[in-house]
Assembly symmetry: C2
Homo-oligomer: 339 residues x 2
Amino acid sequence: MSTLSTNTSTPRTTLTVDDYVNGVLAGNRTVLARAITLLESSSSLHEPLAQEVLRRVLPESGKAKRIGITGVPGVGKSTFIETFGTMLVGKGHKLAVLTIDPTSARSGGSILGDKTRMQKLSREPNAFIRPSPAGHNLGGVARKTREAMLLCEAAGFDIVLVETVGVGQSETALRSMVDFFLLLQLPGAGDELQAMKKGIVEMVDLMLVNKADGENRSRAELARAEQEIVVHYLESATPEWKPQVALSSGLTGDGIPQAWEVIEKFYRELEPKGIIKRRRQQQSIDWLTDLIADELHRKFYQHPAVSAQLASVKGALLQGELTPMQGAKKLLAAFSGEK
Amino acid sequence: MSTLSTNTSTPRTTLTVDDYVNGVLAGNRTVLARAITLLESSSSLHEPLAQEVLRRVLPESGKAKRIGITGVPGVGKSTFIETFGTMLVGKGHKLAVLTIDPTSARSGGSILGDKTRMQKLSREPNAFIRPSPAGHNLGGVARKTREAMLLCEAAGFDIVLVETVGVGQSETALRSMVDFFLLLQLPGAGDELQAMKKGIVEMVDLMLVNKADGENRSRAELARAEQEIVVHYLESATPEWKPQVALSSGLTGDGIPQAWEVIEKFYRELEPKGIIKRRRQQQSIDWLTDLIADELHRKFYQHPAVSAQLASVKGALLQGELTPMQGAKKLLAAFSGEK
């Protein structure tokens, strides 16, 4: 059993920063799980401690392949990850599976669900499945998942799969933390399918038409042909990489070794060119920038003088009594005036 | 000649707010042009005056159809606008043509270019062609174009075409100020064509495969068939509107009356449902929010203590010596500490 709950009944001793750092670096799963729990804590007492642990293990992070997976509900993500992940651990990899799900507000996240839906994988000693951190705020949930990813890397996991349930902007958050982005699509074409969410095709490095088994096979072939046109017309997500479209079946395992070959090819071709490194550096800078913008936003809109006037300014704007520029100046003056 | 230069040699008298407001509302093109020049001024003395003029004419704005046009260089935008615009004034419409081009930093914008490339239209008394405001900053250029659009509406223009040259994020800025978004595409398919910029297909209400004349016709038909697949798979830009793909030729005029019919249908179907009104309200709120975010961003990064530390924080981040969270906290502390 590799999944560790935050609600374990085992009594806990307090760990020091050294304990966390040494335990994570030694690949101790219990300590890793507790370190992630510490990161996920909303307590302001825990945050500096968690950040210090993270800072100290940072030099040992960054060594995994970071793969993002998404797809609409019903596309077969869990079965796919179960089959794909079991294959990877069978090849000797150490695999961490993380989730971004801002709708999972239950304490401890969707752990029971994750264990249930990936039963075989969760019994693998070299697989570590961690549910989504709790939270309604995508920014916060995504940040915690990203930091958990770094801890998993420092603990020696050489592949991190991050999946998202595709709520709101969660694919964008996912894209911003992984190297390789895999989209699972349903077999079928034309009007059977929902149109893809804005921007998602342009994030893709590999699109798999999943459930391409049994009677679905010919519809999946058709879907692949159409998706290839779509992918062809849109700008690539990754420089010097042409997004690919292929078939897969989480159920039969068809296409899954080939999907892994595509991912290996991606790293084999792009790593020597420095493309992966540059992407990660840009992602770090983007995270810094986003964290700052989020905090400035929070401070501004929580400022009493701003929140007192916001509704009336918006009302005046919609009534045509103020220009957006005048409205902005008014709120900015309220913000500065009381600082 | 309807285009008015900011560099006119006619001596100018100073206009009061009342002069501007009355002149614009009376449809006086000279005053309209001067009011736009006032809006475009970077002088802090002019800004409150310009905003006051804008605020006073706001109740008379909002009555035009707001149409955005983009397409890669070489797609034939100018010829298209010339033919399309001439048709519209021929139907009795009053048409304003505005541009967003953050690369046009010359004083007075690209006025000579605009006159040259739309010679026939620029001679129409019911057409008003205004070059892009000068500036390197997309936010600033787009804001000025949007405000110029409101002045044109207040001056009685019932159709405003806003085109962009498609630099950087200028299509997104364009989408955020128009009701209807028209993308011109080159005829041809497959590898002949550059992949479309990220997100652009999802902004489209109508895609025209332009230059569909002479020998291009059959390639254009093929392109249309493929683009219909692309458009079909992606989420619509406008609720309850299925983006359409058609052929056009700015040169022969083929397809141009039909394009106008599509635009009229768009308004006929969506206006009674309140979809246009809701889009504009959302756009106003988004502009307010963006102006505030831009100003907070500017204040933050221009703060001496922040700019003094930014490079070292980014360096430490890229060296793995700091987490993005720790970097953000450090810069935020520098920002607050000295305020």
